[in-house]
């Protein structure tokens, strides 16, 4: 019975995805959110860049699911080089 239920659930999901992807072919009218086609060439100038750590949240996941409400366990503070961000972490310094 469990096998049949799992098979039906997978069948439903895939049938939903396949049918609606075919239906999406019929829709071609959408608002454009941006105006990127009208950007002046070489006009993008980002001269101020800074980023710093503010806080952390923690959640617990058991058996592949996130369980319970997020618990906040935060430590504010700036990252030094190789500090909180750790290897591969975002720069973590102010005004680089």
């Amino acid at each position: 019975m469990e096998t049949l239920l799992i098979s039906c659930a997978v069948g439903l999901v895939i049938a939903f995805v396949v049918s609606f992807s075919f239906r999406a072919q019929l829709k071609s009218v959408h608002f454009q959110n941006e105006a990127s086609s009208y950007l002046r060439e070489d006009s993008v100038n980002v001269d101020e860049r800074s980023e710093y750590y503010t806080y952390s949240t923690r959640s617990v996941r058991s058996n592949g699911n996130v369980s319970g409400k997020n618990t906040i366990n935060a430590h504010g503070g700036f990252d030094g080089p190789g500090g909180f961000g750790g290897p591969g972490g975002p720069g973590g310094s102010i005004g680089f």
Partner: protein
């Protein structure tokens, strides 16, 4: 008298207090703790933000000359109220928006004359081919819809657009996160680190179009974009020969809002692209200023086809400059149900056999 400074929690926006036990600043609402230095920097960044200043200046537009007015006729649709312009050599008999008859109304006195026009590059034959291509390869399109031939009613129409130029400068603050998963025996601890990311700079936009006709669906017109303004030429009535031109009924002032929205979204997107190394990046706040803004009035070419099927109106449009064809099509509900059912049964059977073979 000293002024009490209240810091807002970057996490939930609540007022933050000093917590003596933790020896840190702590939010009483979400319990998040912060080092005082973090909040000082955060507050400094927020105080740098000014309200968005997003204004355009108008470029002076000229009206039609008497000679030009004498060459043009204004027609109005008795059914939908749509107004179209055609020169003396072009007779307008039916409305490009609803297909009903139009009657001559008068001249264009008081109207602004377009500054620019992009001439049609695709003819009616190409528009018909575009329509046929648009219908092909669509499995769920009702066959009857394909068979009903409305294609000869396709019309070349110049659509009025307001074109906005602007330089944008300012700052955008993002909330960026990085997830670290600590694996335990029975559970995983997911730690999400939040970072305040600031990007400042400038971006310039030229000729962002907003359609100036209420009769023309805004989403349809945005769907046939982009238009290449470099091919625009100063307006002359001769370009209207053989085509209709929609008369604008939304002025540049009313169109600014849409131009602003798109310019702001693009500016945020450009700044966001420079934020790398995080798992998620969300826009938190903006302080943007528009400068050197001006507005032009132009006519852009489009082939329009209206058709009604089972009581519902369908409008198709082709960009007369690039050939891009758009228009929503109806769904054959029987085919849709059949596709859903067959896929569901087939996948369920395959999954059932596979799971049984795996011993489940």
């Amino acid at each position: 008298m000293s002024e009490l400074k209240e810091y807002k929690c970057p996490c939930c926006g609540g007022g933050i207090e000093w917590n003596a036990k933790a020896q840190k600043m702590k939010c009483p609402y979400c319990d998040t703790e912060f080092e005082p230095e973090t909040l000082l920097q955060y507050d400094k960044d927020l105080s740098k933000l000014e309200d968005d200043d997003l204004t355009f200046e108008n470029e002076a537009n000229a009206g039609w000359s008497e000679e030009e007015q004498n060459k043009m006729n204004l027609y109005v649709c008795q059914s939908c109220g749509g107004e179209v312009i055609a020169d003396n050599t072009t007779s307008a008999s039916s409305c490009p928006y609803c297909g009903n008859p139009v009657i001559m109304k008068g001249n264009l006195s008081g109207d602004l004359k377009p500054d620019y026009v992009i001439p049609f590059k695709y003819d009616k034959k190409a528009a018909k081919a575009g329509y046929q291509k648009h219908l092909s390869g669509k499995f769920l399109l009702p066959k009857v819809f394909k068979d009903e031939n409305h294609i000869d009613e396709i019309k070349g129409v110049y659509i009025p657009f307001w074109l906005f130029d602007s330089d944008v400068s300012g700052n955008v603050i993002f909330d960026a996160t990085k997830e670290i998963v600590h694996h335990r025996e029975e559970e995983d601890i997911i730690e999400t680190k939040h970072y305040n990311v600031i990007r400042g700079g400038s971006v310039s936009f030229d000729n962002v179009p907003v359609d100036g006709s209420t009769k023309m669906d805004d989403a349809l017109m945005e769907s046939i974009e982009p238009f290449e303004f470099k091919e625009a030429v100063p307006f002359q009535t001769a370009y209207l020969s053989g085509f209709l031109a929609d008369r604008y009924d939304v002025d540049s002032e009313a169109s600014k809002k849409r131009a602003r929205e798109r310019i702001i979204e693009s500016t945020i997107s450009e700044f966001k692209d420079t934020v790398t190394g995080f798992d998620s990046v969300t826009t938190k706040d903006t302080s943007l200023k528009f400068s050197k803004g001006n507005v032009k009035y132009a006519l852009y070419p489009a082939w329009i086809l209206n058709t009604t099927w089972q009581g519902k109106k369908f409008t198709f449009a082709m960009n007369g400059q690039t050939g891009k064809f758009v228009g929503d099509l109806p769904t054959d509900k029987t085919k849709f149900g059949g596709l859903f059912g067959v896929t569901f049964v087939a996948i369920t059977i395959i999954m059932y056999i596979l799971l049984k073979l795996m011993g489940m």
